[in-house]
Amino acid sequence: MIESLSNPLLSANAQGWSLCRGGCAVMCAVLAVTFLSGCGAEPDSQAVVRDNGDIEPARGSGNLKLSGKLVLTGSSTVAPLAVEIAKRFETEHPDVRVDVQTGGSSRGIADALSGVADLGLASRALKKDEVEQGLVGHQLAIDGVSVIVNADNPLSSLTSGQVVQLFTGAITNWSELGGEDADVVIVNKAEGRATLEVFLNHFGLKNEQITADVVVGDNQHGIKTVAGNRLAIGYVSIGAAQSEADLGTPIRVLPVDGIELTTENVASGAFKITRPLLIVSKGEPTGLAAAFLDYAKSPQMHDLIRAQGFEAVTQ
């Protein structure tokens, strides 16, 4: 009995090992080859970037043949929009490659300052010391921050005061607002997130005052947390909230002080929890970066901006 069981197992074992070794060897070889070829390609693309600096500045002219590589890094809110703009830009200028990397507004600002990126992406206004270091913010669009609750929450609206009371722990039970008798679950954003800064600024709060039960990273994390918890209340970018709500995710956007969250209200300024979405450059941009910036700010981009759930700015 035992013999019949273990005998085939053993032979299978020996085979398994040699197979595994072979597989590892192949994997290593593949890795090495990709790595080597990656190394070979690197200097080329670098050279293109360097060449690119020598291109004559051609502000706004679409006729000049543009080529080279442009690196944009920063806010995870702006990045999806920047990717869409970059795609369109690349189809019009086939010799141009635009790389968009995310990592948060602070990274975008730091990278633009250090020159790691040609342009930074930020979803908040620049601070005074950042402007003093020579950064220029170019506004692409406006985003709003909206308070969201689970779809099962009976609440239909909140006042600013109630939002503050909820987030600072003065109200800890939904029954105090006419809901069910259960504890409120406060979903806060991780420190350094632009949404957090906008939210705190608008309600005049400090992060230490917030009695959070859950801390989340990006918008999707926040939305999924509120969607999975009928007692939760949080805040996310309106673009993300609206598209998710339209997809049937069980969340509801709550009007604050009776102002419905619509992109029109955001555009008119009636909805006040807003933030600018910026492309950041060190000094005034030149060459390819300037051409891309003009393109991104042109009215032809408004459909892309609206498709992302943001509101375009008209200068």
Partner: protein
């Protein structure tokens, strides 16, 4: 004719060997470079606030302009508890499932069980995290809000550790010499005694090594933990309290961290690397000893 063929074979082999050596050297160097880079980035924090303040400061407020605070004891405790809980849960589950596969099931069932374990091993951690957030967290929330908690982290991590521990245990059980089983069968020893008195004691070192490898993975796990643990920097009073682990802290804050704050995060990264290399070294040591015997 035959001679030349074998020669070309040899040549091919030699090339492959060179390629493999190169690949091995490269991955070794890369690892050392990473360690050196992390150390170099962490150096300012190791000098200025210093390691002592990571423990002695009472709160984690690294961005405070006047007096930054670097207390990370709650996060160390968080990482420790999540890892400990997951290892404690995953070890018996993995052990039993492997023993069942090896000794108590038909060949088909054993095959199926192994494939399932391998499949589980291949699931990306973000998928585990997402599953935890949409399935597990609401369940825990219904029981005891807020749902995102130490418990959720332990349960999700347990699922992720089972295959790691199980596959290592499986390998060490299979390494038990076949003659011993035959001798046991010849002596008329029952299956239970064979499993618990023969196979398990002989494979024990390998099993412990597997558990250590699992612990190394648990300490470093990030994505799933960020999603389900709630990330509040606090000492948990119960299993239902949210916690923030060291890894989650790095993932949440590295994106925007600058200067001193960044260096402090790298210092915690260095600590993680040390911890998990200790586990891996322990596992390696156990395995080598067994090999010698």
């Amino acid at each position: 004719m035959k001679q030349s063929r074998s020669n070309s074979w040899l040549n091919g082999d030699r090339w492959l060997e060179r390629l493999l050596r190169l690949a091995a050297a490269m991955s070794g160097c890369l690892t050392l470079l990473i360690v050196a880079f992390v150390f170099w980035q962490a150096l300012p924090a190791l000098r200025d606030p210093g390691v002592a303040r990571f423990v002695s400061d009472s709160v984690w407020r690294p961005t405070d302009e006047t007096a930054p605070q670097f207390g990370m004891t709650p996060m160390l405790v968080g990482s420790g508890l999540v890892t400990l809980g997951a290892v404690l849960l995953a070890t018996p589950l993995a052990l039993f499932s492997v023993i069942v596969a090896e000794f108590y099931s038909s060949r088909t069932l054993a095959w199926l069980l192994r494939r399932v374990l391998e499949l589980l091993n291949g699931v990306p951690s973000v998928v585990f995290g997402f599953w935890g957030l949409v399935v597990l967290v609401p369940l825990i929330n219904a029981w005891h809000p807020p749902g995102q908690s130490l418990l959720a982290g332990i349960l999700v991590l347990t699922l992720m550790l089972i295959p790691t521990v199980a596959l290592a245990t499986d390998a060490s059980l299979r390494a038990v010499p076949n003659e011993l089983y035959r001798s046991a069968a010849a002596l008329g020893i029952g299956r239970g005694a064979v499993v618990w008195k023969l196979a398990v004691p002989l494979a024990r070192r390998g099993m412990v090594a597997g558990v250590l490898l699992g612990a190394a993975r648990a300490v470093g796990e990030t994505m799933a933990i960020v999603i389900v643990c709630g990330n509040i920097v606090q000492m948990p009073d119960s299993l239902f309290d949210p916690v923030r682990t060291i890894t989650a802290n790095i993932a949440l804050e590295m994106g925007y961290a600058t200067s001193g704050h960044r260096a402090a995060l790298f210092a915690t990264g260095l600590l993680l690397m040390l911890t998990s290399s200790l586990f891996v070294a322990g596992a390696g040591l156990l395995r080598r000893r067994r090999g010698r015997r």
